[in-house]
Structure formats: C-alpha cells, structure tokens
Amino acid sequence: MTAPTSVSRDIVESGQRAARRSDSSAGSQTRQARFRVWRGDSSGGRFEDYETQISEGMVVLDAIHQIQAESANDLAVRWNCKAGKCGSCSAEVNGMPRLMCMTRLNDLDLEQPVTVEPMRAFPPLRDLVTDVSWNFEVKKRIAKFKPRPPDAADGTWRMAQADVDRVQEFRKCIECFLCQDVCHVLRDHSKHDSFIGPRFLTYVAALEMHPLDTVVRTAELKEAHGIGYCNITKCCTKVCPENIAITDNAIIPLKERVVDDHYDPLSALVRLFRRKLARDD
C-alpha cells in the first residue's frame, strides 16, 4: 500500500478544513453589493448603478451575469470559459485591467461600488465590449513560422525541454489583450499604426526564440513593428493574467537582438555569418 492510511487521513482532514474555512462565510451568507457599470456605445455612454446579492467565491463576471439576468438583459459582455483560459472577459475593474472571471469579489472593497468599464485602449462597441479587431490584423503582418528541415527521417524534430521552456512561457498567452490595453504607447498615444504592442512583441519573441524557426524578424521589429516605442515601463507584465514576464523575457531580449543586428556592425556580421552557416547545414 503506497497511500498509507495516514496519508488518506491527512487528505480528508485537510479537505474538511478547507470546507469549514469556506463554509464559515459562504453559501448561506449573502450580502448586497453595488456595481457601477459603463453602459454605452461608440457615440458615448455613462455609468449605471446596479445592486445584486453576492456570496463568497463569486467573481466580477458572476455579478455581471446576475445583473444581466435580473435587471439588464441587454448588458453586453464577452466571455467564454469563466476559468481564465480564453481571455474573453477583459475589462477594467476599479480602474485596473483584469479578467472579470478571475477577479474575486472578496478581494475588492465592497463598501464602495465596484466600477466595471471596458478596456480603454480599444474603441467601445457596446457596454463592456470593445472592438479588438486591430489585434487580429496585426498578427497578419508578422512573418510566419518557418521551421528548419526535419531532424529525423520520419519528418519529425528533436528539441530539448530546456530549449522550449522559454517559448512555452510566451505561448501561454491567452490573447486577452490586457497588456495592449495598459500599454501607454497604445492607450495614451494611440500608436496603433506604428507599434504592435506587448502582445505581439511576445508573439514575435515566441517565433524568434523557437528552436526550429529560421526567419529573422529584427528588421521588421525595428521598422514596421516599432519596438523602439517601448520604454520598458513593465505595465504589461504587471497586468498579465498568465504571469508572463513580457518585458524581461520577451521585449528586452528582442530589443537586444535589434541592437545587435542593426546598430552593432561587428555582431551583425557575426550573426549573419552564423545564420548562413546554420542554413547551409
């Protein structure tokens, strides 16, 4: 027996502890909370106040759904998974870019109304829903993944876990666009035409650091993608619900590559030579 009785007892006792802890305030106990929700469209709007009953464990999205069912059937909100996996329900809660499904009400001060408004870096469509179509256009402009020839006769590749760890960090991105929302280059300066934003710098980093990829994207990063606009305030990293180290692990290394390739003639030559060798293999 490898799960001895003592282990089983521990499991049950700690389960009961967890249950007691949540029972002390949940389920049976509800309270009234106030929400100030932005209602409007591209022509403008205003905050509307709503009250609803909440219990422990509820997240902001639950409250919005409850308001929708009770008193505002046409309140527009995007959501899909309600588990922090799809990145649909991005909004600004009490002024902070958050996923509504991952924002627990018991982490907020419920003595005050909870303010819920759409992301401000994108044009409002209706209520909490914004037009994020620009993001989908940006991806089309980024040079696609192009792998080196397969390593094995059966057409497959060999990669070490250590070499894919960093790329996997970037690939956790759920495209919630909260990093785009908080980025001052987009939010305050509206440089959507000349800057792709932290989400897509992370996307380019995932391609550039992919062990199989053969394309060099530093020229487009510098010119078309406007990496120079990023001045490393790290706001994007702070709001990422997937805890991706966007600035440190993606953007800064990309900036270094751009500098190496375009501002340091010696390393540019070395890199060019190395890449040529690698491709000639």
Partner: protein, 607 residues
C-alpha cells in the same frame, strides 16, 4: 438578396474551434474560397479549454503503442457502438496530424531524447497523450489559428448562424447575423461544414463555454439531417464543486494521469472497490502497482482512477449518494499525496499541472500541492451528434458536412480522454478536404429569398412582443429552468418516469420560449442572442431525452436506473433522430454494419 450583405464562398465553415480551423486549413489548401463563421472572437472557442492532451499513437514514450492498440482502446471505451471506420481512420491518422502541428509551430512537452512527450490518460493502455502541461487545447487552437492567418481565409467573427439554406435536397448556404450590429448576412456556398461543438449548455452543471448550445446539431436537424447516439452524454468525473460560482469547471484527467487519487470522506480510495470485468486484466490490483504505472513502469497496470470516464463518474455518484461524499457533495481528488513518494512534489505538481494550480489557487483559494480538491461530475461532452459518413464526414444532407464534437460516430457510447483533440484534427481535415472536393464538383444552389425573409422576421419577433402577463418573461429564466430540469431528469442517472416528465417540461418551456421578450436594440444584445439560442437548446434536449428513452439499458455515458445493466439486445445499433415533415422528431434504430475481419482480429488481440 439586396436587403442583406451576401458573401460567396466555395466552402463555408461554421465554428472556429479545432475542427473548424483544421477544416478551413484543409479546404484552403485545396484551393477553394473559404469562409469561416464563428460566434466568438477567433481563438476563444471551447477547444482552448481542453487541458489534458491529444491522443496519438506516436509510441514516443512506450514503443508497444501503435494504431491498432489505439483503435482497440477506442472501441472498448465506446462499448463497440463506434463507427469502426472512423475509429480506424482516427487511430491511423492522429500521429501525422500531431506531427503536422509541430511543423506549424506547436511546442509540445519533450521526452529526454527530444521527441514529443506523452502522458497517461483514462482508458488508454499506454501513455499516448501529446501535451503541453495542462493547456494543450490552447496550444492547438493557437497553432491552427496562426497557421490559418496566412491562408487567405475570410473570417467572420462574432457572427451566429441561425438557419441553413437549402436548394431542394442539398445545401445552398446559411443565414447568420453579426453580433456587433445585429445585421443579417447571407452566406452562399455549395458546401457547408458544421464544426459547432457540443450541447453542454443544455445542462446546469457543465464544463462547457456559453457557445455550446447545440447549434450545429439543431441546424442540421432542421435542415433534414439525421442525428445519432444523442443519448450518450459524457459527464466528466472531475469538475470543481466549490465554491458554487465555479461549479462544473473542469479539473483535468491529467491530475489522475500524474498520480492523483480519489478518496471518500472516510479516506477510502474507493475506485479499487468496483473494477469492470472488461478492464480487470488491465487494471492494477494494488495502490503500489498503480503508482508504478503513473511513474512509467511498463510492467505495471493502470490505477483504477484511470478507468473510463463513465465508470469513474458513476463511482463518484455512488459514494455521494451513499453518504460518503465530501462536505460540498463531491469526493476528494488528491495530488498532494505524492509528496510521500517524490522529493520536491510541489514544484513537480506546479510544472505538470500549472493551469490547475492556478485555477484552484485563484478561484477556490486551495493550494493543490498541499490540499485535496473537491470534485464531482460535470457535463462535458456529447458523443452523439450529426450522423456522418466515416470517410468524408458528409451528413445525410448532400453538401452538408460535420466534424468534431458536432458529428457522431467516433466515440460510440463513451469517449476516451484525449480522443477529442485528435478527433478535431483528423476529421476536421477530412471534412475540409471532402467539402472542397464537393464544392469543386457542384455549383452553388439557389437561395430562396422568401424563406430568408421569413427566418429574419421570426428572429426579430422577440423585440416586438409586448410585455403583458406571461409574455413579459425574459430569455434567461427559460434557459436556466431548462438547464436545471435537464440536469435533474436527464442527467447522469436516468429513469423512464423522469424522462417522460422532462418531455412534458420541454413542451411547456418551448411555449414559454416562443413568448420571451427582449429589450434594447440589435447591437451586441446578449438577451436577444439567448432568446435565439433557446430553440437550439430545446431541440437538442428533446433529441437527448427521446434517444435516452429508446435505449432501455445502461451503456457508456448513458445510465438508466430502471435498466442498470448492459443489454446485448441493444449492442448492434445506433439510435437516430429524424425530422418529420411537421418538424417533430422521429426515432429509429440503425444497425451497425458488420466490422471487417482484420479489425475484429485487432480487437481480439488486444483484449
């Protein structure tokens, strides 16, 4: 069609999850014009929530694996009601489809020699699931999405199909409305692929996203296509049960694949108490052997926690009903116990199950590296769906194809974990290819303007209803009552009397649905959207209930309290649902074709 925006495509694909995207890629590769319509933003489909992995007999971790074993596992899991041709194609083609994802940029976890790593899962004899921690669905959908971006596919996001359009017997296109402005759009195409996913939102406790309202099944039925095996609804054994707002959210089978155990309130590891006869020879007979299995010992057999989902779900229900459940009506799932087996268990758990760690920490305030989770069954998947041809994925309506969860056949009575993601890419590709071929061989049919106009007027009715008495009800109340009723009467344990009362309820709810009223205007109006969803939810609920009444036995995902045993008399046919001329449903029994001898032999060899 001057009144509406009209889009011409050769192949119209409805749904942009794994199956829809893979179909779109295949059709675009065949050189035809492809339109892709999806209810949400691109990349948000339910596929993104798939956690455990994609099943493919790559044999990277255990070289005894091959397509034959995968085929036999799938047939055994499906209790031999599967479309065996689909099970064969699936097992043979899944490895190539997974390798192809890597060629398009997917980054799977690696073995020590640098190949794609594979993990254990319920019902699979060998470790077979290629995975990325526990976010495999995200990796898959993002890879397909990013690959598709460069193929010139016209993507119509946040656009909902409300009716399929026909020219005589064959398909001619679809009518949809866009969410942002509520404008109607006509899609004109000789071939349509439905890849709309499942029906989980017909139930109260579900792991499914809001989109799973049975649209494809209902649209296909309305267009005259047959549905198949609708009684087989999979209740995943491990959904979250606490706190109430997260009830139903999935806890991946990967937790058990990595060594997680199920215990009741008395601390008993109850899964050892009831091991089905046809799995006895493959199941560990001690906890020690089960642990060795999850650690990769090829001489060990799988622990009973990795039996098929239908069985594990029923064992959990039994524990709860007999008073041995956890405080909130589930049981305990514990991965933290492995600290008694391996050093640095917390870091190991966070590495293998990052998303589960995150989910429980943030939503339930539970640290799964030191505490057990409380879990219980949640509506997860429908094995049944649109009846299709195994090779081409064409439905019984010419030009109308279906793939992924919206199609039936591959999984029979119960789906093995991981077989869904492989289903999407294997049959998504086939559907896209054959739809493109059909579109090349056939010109588009004519669209009847009058029927489009009729459907548009019907769709707008909820706005015009006046608020007097019963007519002033909103759509959410009807939706919620339907979900609760289906959960209670057609859920994990079924009886004839309860299902008969469910049919009566469906009739009453349909009357109420026809009277619901919505406020506001057509711009991004979720109330209106919910009102339109109701007819699809009601249709699939009725199809599930009628099929479940017809199958007077217990098998796979279908459990009847009044017929608790498997009955050989029900082993040889699928149950179909057809549309009568007046729109009502008719049930028939369709014999399963005799299996090829070579496949029979594979099953014998793997018993």
């Amino acid at each position: 069609m001057g009144r509406y925006d009209t889009h011409q495509h050769d192949v119209l694909i409805v749904g942009a999850g794994g199956a829809g995207l893979r179909a779109a890629i295949a059709a675009a590769a065949a050189g035809v014009r492809v339109g892709l319509v999806c209810k949400s933003l691109l990349g948000k489909a339910h596929t993104v929530m798939a956690e455990g992995g994609v099943a493919a007999a790559l044999a990277n971790v255990d070289d005894r694996d091959n397509w034959r074993v995968h085929f036999a596992d799938t047939m055994r899991g499906g209790q031999y009601l599967n479309n065996w041709r689909m099970a064969e194609l699936h097992a043979k083609e899944a490895p190539a489809r997974v390798n192809e994802l890597e060629a398009w940029g997917a980054v799977f976890d690696r073995t020590t020699d640098g190949r794609i790593l594979q993990r254990n899962f319920g019902g699979h004899k060998y470790p077979r699931l290629a995975h990325v921690g526990d976010r495999t669905g995200l990796e898959m959908i993002r890879t397909l999405q990013d690959h598709a971006v460069h193929l010139g596919i016209d993507v119509h996001m946040e656009c909902t199909v409300i009716s399929l359009l026909k020219d005589g017997d064959r398909i001619a296109g679809a009518l949809a409305y866009d969410r942002d402005r509520g404008r109607f759009r006509v899609f004109h195409a000789p071939a349509v692929v439905l890849a709309t996913g499942g029906i989980g939102r017909a139930f109260h406790i579900t792991s499914n996203s809001w989109e799973y309202t049975g649209d494809g099944q209902s649209l296909a039925f309305q267009a005259g296509a047959a549905l198949q095996d609708m009684e087989f609804v999979q209740f995943h054994p491990t959904g979250m049960v606490w706190p109430p707002s997260v009830r139903g959210i999935l806890v991946t089978e990967g937790v058990r694949g990595e060594g997680g155990i199920l215990v009741n309130k008395d601390g008993r590891r109850f899964m050892f108490d009831d091991i089905p006869e046809n799995y006895r020879s493959q199941t560990a007979d001690s906890e020690e052997e089960g642990w060795r299995y999850v650690q990769g010992d090829k001489n060990a057999r799988r622990p009973p926690e990795l039996l098929t989902r239908d069985h594990v779900a029923r064992c959990i229900v039994r524990e709860v009903r007999e008073g041995r459940g956890s405080p909130h009506g589930g049981v305990f799932l514990d991965i933290s116990w492995i600290k008694s087996k391996i050093t640095d268990a917390p870091a190991h758990i966070r590495k293998k199950l990052p998303s589960m760690y995150h989910q429980f920490k943030q939503l339930a305030d539970i640290d799964i590296t030191s505490e057990p989770m409380e879990v219980g069954p949640t509506t997860h998947y429908v094995m049944g769906g649109i009846r299709v041809d195994g090779d081409t994925q064409m439905s019984t309506v010419p030009g109308l194809f279906a793939a992924g969860e919206s199609a039936a056949g591959l999984h029979g009575a119960n789906r093995l974990g991981g077989n869904s993601l492989s289903d999407l890419i294997v049959f998504g590709k086939r559907a896209g290819e054959y739809a493109a071929r059909y579109a090349s061989d056939n010109v588009a049919g004519n669209i009847d303007a009058a029927s489009v106009e009729d459907t548009v007027q019907q769709a707008l009715e909820p706005f015009g209803r006046t608020g007097n008495g019963a007519a002033s009800e909103g759509p959410y109340q009807v939706q919620q009552e339907l979900q609760e009723m289906m959960q209670e009467h057609v859920g994990i344990v079924r009886t004839e009397s309860e299902m008969n009362s469910a049919l009566e309820s469906i009739t009453r709810l349909a009357e109420r649905a026809a009277r619901v009223q919505v406020n506001g205007n057509r711009d991004y109006n979720p109330g209106w959207h919910t009102a339109l969803d109701l007819s699809n939810l009601l249709a699939v609920s009725e199809a599930v209930t009628l099929s479940a009444l017809e199958r007077k036995e217990s098998r796979g995902g279908h459990f009847r309290n009044d017929y608790p045993e498997k009955d050989p008399a029900f082993a040889g046919f699928n149950i179909l649902v057809h549309r009568n001329n007046d729109g009502s449903m008719r049930i028939s029994r369709e014999p399963i074709p005799e299996m090829r001898d070579d496949l029979k032999q594979i099953i014998e060899e793997n018993k």
